[in-house]
């Protein structure tokens, strides 16, 4: 068997702070993602989805356990520029044109680019429907277009692993669906392994080969649901009975995740401190 794209083994992460009890954001999580797969992570707020993503991105290290990306530590994968990140907000630089924003990662850490051919950024932008907007500043674009540019920026390095943290959560329903479609198009073409955090059940099912359902306190994986639906995932498919069945299944697991949480003593604080 080939090396998995992402291998999380018994990884835990505890956040200690001076004035509160330590938070077990992740408690010994195991997850294996095969190469080229699209995997969504869904779960109640605070169950450690973003923490998992940060660990895989090498932005933080687990307290116990290990993480490997393509068989090596995430830091090494990052140093070789084999990781891409799309955060919740587009995080574009307002003083650079869309095209310059998209090509900026290529201008950093250049040593890692030796011997690689990168996709043509202008071509990718055109495919994402941003051909007209290429030389415009991000501030002049709609939220959906900005998020598209952020996705193209992440694909622009042709990463092996793409990590996306609720990239569409700030968008309206229609924009969201259009972007899902474009994301799948880009993914079909460039074939990265994707780990995609979302709060939307239908979004998770539509995009993914697998849906990972997590629960909180401590953050853990409750269930992994394989989505055996044909691709391309068209609008018709979304309305099909099969799709609906998956929604029912995932919703039930998600409800379990919430119930788990409420059996535990109530939190002292109201919300997520971040």
């Amino acid at each position: 068997m080939s090396v998995p794209a992402i291998a999380v083994r018994g990884a835990s992460r505890v956040y200690a702070s001076a004035d509160r009890a330590p938070v077990e954001a992740l408690g010994a999580v195991d997850l294996t993602v095969d190469r080229g797969r699209f995997v969504s992570v869904i779960g109640p707020s605070g169950c450690g989805k973003s923490t998992l993503l940060r660990l895989v991105a090498g932005l933080e290290s687990p307290d116990t356990g290990s993480i490997e990306v393509g068989g090596e530590p995430p830091e090494r994968a990052a140093a070789a520029k084999r990781l891409g990140l799309v955060p919740q907000r587009p995080a574009l630089l307002p003083w650079l044109s869309v095209l310059k924003n998209v090509t900026l990662p290529a201008r950093m850490n250049r040593r890692a680019d030796r011997g690689r051919t990168l996709p043509d950024a202008a071509e990718l932008l055109r495919k994402a429907g941003l051909g007209e907007a290429m030389h415009v500043l991000p501030g002049e674009l709609s939220g959906g277009m900005q998020q598209r540019a952020a996705i193209v920026r992440a694909f622009g390095l042709h990463p092996d692993v793409l990590l996306m943290d609720e990239p569409f959560s700030a968008l309206d329903e229609f924009t969201r669906e259009a972007l899902q479609e474009q994301l799948l198009d880009l993914w079909e073409e460039l074939r990265a392994t994707v780990l995609f955090v979302t709060h939307s059940i239908s979004e998770a099912i539509r995009l993914s080969d697998q849906v990972v359902v997590m629960a909180a306190r401590p953050g853990r994986i409750l269930e992994v649901v394989d989505i055996d639906l044909p691709r391309p995932r068209t609008q018709d498919l979304v309305l099909s009975p099969d799709f609906h069945d998956y929604e029912v299944v995932v919703r039930q697991y998600l409800r379990d995740a919430f119930d788990h949480e409420h059996q535990l003593p109530r939190r002292r604080d109201g919300g997520d401190p971040r």
Binding site: A57, K81, L83, L85, L104, P105, M108, N109, L157
Partner: protein, 263 residues
């Protein structure tokens, strides 16, 4: 909006009329004041005759003061910018530098001007030092805050491609800090003139600069000369501020602080 249309709009009386009316009112008040309080205000005609009578004299002294102000500002800017980078990159540097900077800021710097004159004499050195010190703190604080204001998401995106510290500084932190730097410059350009003038006044033996002109003229009761020098200083300060503002518009055209309101 295009530069040209903006320019045309500013020509409309709606934009300049209020300021002009205000100026006329002030000039009228001055005229009345000068009649009532001849020891405080010279008649406007005297002021005008003084300025128009020997413009070269005022220009020469203005040039000296401007040179000291800009020279001191440049020194203060470079020092503050370099330290701001250090402070934002290293916790150790922050802990070492910031307390000293804060103490420096609460020290009345104009009070050290006489001491500097004793140490460095009547040459340009004490003037440059006072001006640099006065300009230093606002630039340090603003720039350091700006360098640290890069959003967490942006940093995460570029850390996952392993951008170096230098690359983060050059491509993310410094451009993000620019609006803060310009805010500091708008404070510091007028301050630099204050610094230069105060230093000139403390060096009672120096013989040029508008501060010296004011000091000498007031000791001889030549009110018109005193006020002429003050007017020249005010015009100089306004021009500097105008230059910074125009530069800011050009450099930060992408930033919301330079976006024009829709009316």
């Amino acid at each position: 909006m295009s530069e040209v249309r903006r320019g045309v709009r500013l020509l409309h009386p709606r934009y300049w009329a209020p300021a002009v009316v205000m100026l006329l009112v002030l000039l009228a008040l001055w005229t009345v004041g000068a009649e009532r309080l001849p020891y405080l205000l010279p008649p406007l005609s005297d002021l005008w005759d003084t300025l128009a009578g020997d413009p070269a004299y005022f220009l020469r002294h203005a040039g000296v003061t401007l040179g000291e102000a800009l020279g001191g500002l440049a020194i203060g800017f470079v020092a503050a910018f370099v330290l701001a980078v250090l402070v934002s990159e290293s916790v150790l540097a922050r802990r070492a530098i910031m307390p000293v900077a804060v103490v420096l800021n609460v020290t009345p710097l104009v009070a050290i001007a006489p001491a500097l004159v004793v140490a460095f004499g009547f040459g340009p050195a004490p003037k440059l030092i006072v001006t640099a010190l006065i300009c230093f703190f606002p630039i340090l604080i603003n720039t350091a805050a700006g360098l640290r204001s890069v959003s967490r998401e942006v940093l995460q995106v570029f850390r996952t491609v392993h951008a170096s510290r230098w690359e983060l500084l050059r491509h993310l932190r410094i451009p993000t800090a620019l609006p803060f730097v310009f805010a500091a410059l708008k404070i510091v350009f007028p301050l630099s003139i204050v610094g230069a003038v105060v230093a000139e006044m403390s060096a009672a033996g120096s013989d040029d600069g508008l501060g010296t002109v004011i000091l000498v003229a007031s000791s001889m009761n030549r009110l018109a000369v005193v006020w002429a020098a003050i007017v020249v200083l005010a015009v100089m300060g306004s021009l500097l501020l105008l230059i910074v503002t125009v530069a800011e518009r050009r450099v930060l055209h992408w930033h919301e602080s330079t976006a024009r309101p829709s009316r």
